[in-house]
Symmetry: C2
Subunit: 349 residues, 2 copies
C-alpha cells in the first residue's frame, strides 16, 4: 500500500503535465479518464482525485469552465468493485469540499467500474482522454509457455536457463504490444497515457534489482520443500506471470507498435519499505514499522491468490512467516529497492 | 423474477422501435445504452442483449457496419455489482455466439457498472443514446414527509387520509421531474428512453390495483402486532417509498418538465403469478408453482431490506410465512394483477 502510494506520488508531476497538455490542446467539455488495474484499496480513488484537482487548477488559471469528468475504474472481474462503489459517496463529498474551496464551483464527476483484462479492448473507439496505470502493467496476461526448465525458481533468476528469460521477454513483448494497440484504438486524438511499471535499470532481466524479492520467496518455498511441507514438483512448475521491463525494452515496444510518441521515460526507486523514504509515516502503525513485515504483507497481497491456487490455503501463513524473516534479514544487511519505470505517451494523430 | 422477465418482454417491441428509430436517424458508430436500476439477477443482462440483437438485425438489413456498444449498468451503490461482473465473461461468450451466427461478425460490446441514484446525474452531458428502466422508477427517492396520519397502513390504502395521498403524489412529481431533467442532460440529441413503471390504470392512487399487494403485507404485519410480536408504533411509522403512477400522471410530468416528447404510452397487465400467463414455465420449478409462494418471494426480494431496517431480522421469516398464506388465499379467490405503464420518450432537439 505504502509503496504504491509512493509510486503514484512519484508519477504525479508527469501525470499532471500530461493532463495539462491534453487539456490545453483539446479543451474538452467532458474528460474521460481511465485507471487500469485500479485494485480496491485506499489508493484506488487517489489517482482520480489528483487528476481532477489538476484540471481544476488549470481551469482556475484560465478562468474557463470546469469540464465534467467520467472516471473509469478498471480491474479484472474478480476485483472487489462493490467495496469501491460503496466508498464513493464519502469520497466524492470530501473531493467536492476540497475542490469547492479551491475554485468556487466543483465540476461533476461520474465514476464507473469496468471489469476486464487490459490485454484486450475495454472501451469504445475514441472515447478515452487519458489512461493511467500504476504497478499493474508488469503483470503478464499469462505465465509464459516454455518454463519447464526453470526448476527451483518461481520467476526469472540468476540460475534460470536463457530460454526461460527469452520466454518471459517474448510474453512481455506480445502483451505490451497488444496493450498499446488496444489503448490507441480507445484513445481520442492526442489522447495520453501515463504508465508506471515495476521495472529494472539493468539490461539483464534476471538482475537482482527486479528478481530478488521473488528469489527470497522461492527460498522460503524451497525451505518448506526440504522439510517435506510442500511437494518439490509443485514449486518446479510454479512461475509468477510478471515481467519487469527496462526503459529500453519499453521504448523498443512503443516504437515497434507505432501508435504513440514518448514524452517522458523516467526511472525511479522506492525502498522496499517505503517508510524509509520518510513518506506517509503514521504513528498509529508504528508497531508494524518492521520492514520484513511490511514487505512480506505487501507481497502477500499481490501473490496470495497465485500461491493458494498452486499450493492450497494451508501453507500460506507458514510460508509468509518464513518469507518475512528472510526479507527482514536481507533488509537489515543490504539496501533493497524497487525500480519503477514511468512512461508518458501521446497517441499519434 | 418471472414477473420482471415478463415485463421486459412486454416492453420489448417498444424498446426495439425506439432503438430502430434512434439508429436510423443518427447511425452512431458507437452506441451508449444505460439500464437504470439493473439489479443483479438473471434479468440484469437480458435487456442489454435484446438491444444489441436489435441493432444487429438493423445493421444486417442495411448492410452497414455494426457499431460498438457501451452498456452502462446502473443501480444503487449497495447493489451486488461483483456478481454481475463475474458473470459477464460467460454472458458475452453466449452473446457473441448468438450474434455471430446471425450476422457473420459481432460488434464489440463493453460493459461498465455505474453506482448511484438515478434521482441525480450519473453520466456526462450528451453521452448516452438510450436509457432503459424496468420496474425501478416506481421507487421514490425517499419516504415522503407528512405520512404521520397513515397509521395501520404501510402504503397508500383505501383508509389513508387525503393528505397521505397528496404527500405521495407530490414526492412522485418531484422525483420524476428531477429524473427527466437529469436524463435529458445526459442524452445525446434525439436520444431516447423506454421506461416501465409498476403503475395503475385508475385515477385513484389508493386504488386496489396498485395498493392491494402492500395492504396484504400490512395485514400480515398488523396480525403480528395484535399478537404482540411487533410494536404497533413501528408499523404506524413505516411506509413504503413507492408510487405507482397512472399513464395520465406520467404524461402530465413529462409535459410539465418539457425536455421530452412521448412516442408511446402503454398499459399492460401481468398476473401476480406470472406463470399463469403461460410465460417461462419451467418444469424444474413445478414444486414451487404456488402463487402465494412466488409472489411472497418476489415481494420479499423487494421489501426485505426496508422491513429489516424497521423491524429487525428476527420477524422476517414469520412475516413472510403469514404473507404467503394471505396472498395465496386472495389469489385463489380473485384475479390479481400488476399494472405496468411503459412510456417511450424522445429528447426534444
Amino acid at each position: 500500500m505504502f509503496v504504491q502510494e509512493k509510486v503514484i506520488s512519484i508519477a504525479k508531476p508527469i501525470t499532471e503535465e500530461a493532463m495539462t497538455k491534453l487539456f490545453c490542446s483539446t479543451s474538452p467539455t467532458k474528460v474521460a479518464i481511465a485507471d487500469l488495474g485500479c485494485s480496491s484499496g485506499p489508493n484506488t480513488l487517489l489517482v482520480a482525485s489528483e487528476l481532477i484537482k489538476v484540471v481544476n487548477k488549470i481551469c482556475d488559471k484560465l478562468g474557463s469552465q470546469l469540464p465534467e469528468f467520467q472516471v473509469f475504474l478498471n480491474d479484472l472481474p474478480g476485483n472487489d468493485f462493490n467495496t469501491i462503489f460503496r466508498s464513493l459517496a464519502s469520497f466524492q463529498k470530501i473531493l467536492r469540499k476540497q475542490l469547492g474551496s479551491a475554485s468556487g464551483a466543483a465540476g461533476q464527476c461520474f465514476f464507473t467500474g469496468v471489469p476486464g483484462s487490459f490485454y484486450g479492448r475495454l472501451f469504445p473507439r475514441n472515447s478515452v482522454h487519458l489512461f493511467h496505470s500504476s504497478y499493474s502493467l508488469q503483470w503478464l496476461s499469462q505465465v509464459p509457455d516454455g518454463l519447464e526448465s526453470n526448476k527451483g525458481n518461481i520467476f526469472m533468476a540468476s540460475t534460470s536457463p536463457p530460454c526461460v528469460l527469452t520466454a518471459y521477454y517474448e510474453q512481455f513483448q506480445r502483451d505490451f504490444s497488444l496493450f498499446l494497440k488496444c489503448r490507441s484504438e480507445e484513445l481520442v486524438a492526442e489522447g495520453r497515457m501515463v504508465l508506471t511499471f515495476l521495472g529494472r535499470k539493468s539490461q539483464d532481466p534476471s538482475s537482482k534489482e527486479c528478481c530478488y524479492i521473488w528469489e527470497l520467496l522461492a527460498t522460503a518455498l524451497n525451505n518448506m520443500v526440504s522439510e517435506g511441507l510442500i511437494e518439490e514438483e509443485k514449486v518446479n512448475c510454479f512461475n509468477i506471470p510478471q515481467y519487469t521491463p527496462s526503459p529500453a525494452e519499453i521504448k523498443s515496444e512503443v516504437i515497434k507498435e507505432g501508435s504513440f510518441t514518448i514524452d517522458h521515460l523516467e526511472v525511479s526507486e522506492v525502498n522496499w519499505n517505503a517508510y524509509q523514504n520518510g513518506f506517509k509515516f503514521n504513528e498509529a502503525v508504528d508497531a508494524f514499522n518492521d520492514g520484513g513485515y511490511n514487505v512480506a504483507n505487501c507481497m502477500r497481497a499481490v501473490a496470495e491468490p497465485l500461491l493458494v491456487s498452486q499450493f492450497g490455503e494451508a501453507i500460506i501463513d507458514e510460508l509468509f512467516k518464513r518469507y518475512r524473516e528472510i526479507v527482514a534479514d536481507r533488509m537489515s544487511k543490504e539496501k533493497t529497492k524497487f525500480i519503477n519505470v514511468t512512461v508518458s505517451l501521446t497517441k499519434i494523430g
